[in-house]
Amino acid sequence: MKIETRTLQFDHLLTYETELPREDWQDGVFIMNDVQLGLELYKNGSIFFSAEPIKDNSNLHFTYFLPLNEEVELD
């Protein structure tokens, strides 16, 4: 398996943060999949997430990202 150096860069992302047991990582993906977008707003990339250990807690801090075609203001 080849490992290479790259950057990860996006301009418009919708994010969702939560703490979950590691095995429940898919819960956040389901939530992001259910996000309803408007007519001229659409998903233009794969959903991805970051995971970070929490001190003295077996859960992980997850941040889920949903790439969008343009900027959006949340209500």
Partner: protein
């Protein structure tokens, strides 16, 4: 639908049946065999709809060249919004490529665009043009508004192709895709 008879502004006829009869008469007078199934396309205008009446020729398949469940995926995609005259598409793409090259980026040779406003009153269209580059890192120092994403993916698309005569045929195909969506999606 590859070949069809179209009656524009069919709402001037008494009803659907009268519109169908008008087309049938025309077909008969011209020795054209048409299918029994017909399509009515509603076109939205300010205070309601007017409709277009379409009968397809016999033995032609409906929307033969439109495919569903298509997706596009690229890595390292830069995009920029442009207003331009439809004839200037090539020129506009070239100037975007030039802008990237001048800033030491290397376009991979692919390009695609998304129509934001098809044709405004001033005859200009607005589109977001997307160009994948070889670099995975993008820093915009130009002062021009550009966007970059490491991964680009659009799923669940309908797709059709054109060969040659791109500028003319692209807009025809665009209308075809619209009709397809109205009828089937």
């Amino acid at each position: 639908m590859d070949e069809a008879l179209v009656l524009r502004q069919a709402d001037q006829e008494a009803d659907f049946h009268a519109a169908y009869q008008t087309i049938k008469d025309h077909a008969q007078a011209n020795n054209i065999e048409i299918e029994d199934k017909y399509y009515v396309v509603l076109i939205e205008i300010y205070r309601g709809y007017y409709y277009r009446f379409i009968c397809s020729f016999k033995e032609t398949e409906l929307f033969t060249m439109i495919f569903g469940n298509y997706s596009i995926a690229y890595r390292n995609v830069v995009s920029k919004y442009y207003n331009f005259h439809p004839d200037q598409l090539d020129h506009t793409i070239n100037s975007f490529v030039q802008l990237l090259v001048e800033n030491d980026y290397h376009p991979t040779g692919n390009v695609f665009y998304s129509m934001i406003i098809e044709l405004a009153e001033d005859g200009l269209m607005t589109a977001e043009i997307f160009i994948p580059i070889e670099e995975s890192n993008f820093t915009n120092t130009t002062g021009e508004q550009m966007f970059f994403r490491s991964y680009f993916l659009i799923e669940s698309m309908i797709m059709t192709r054109v060969l040659n005569d791109f500028e003319q045929k692209a807009s025809e195909k665009f209308v075809e895709l619209h009709h397809y969506m109205k009828i089937f999606i």
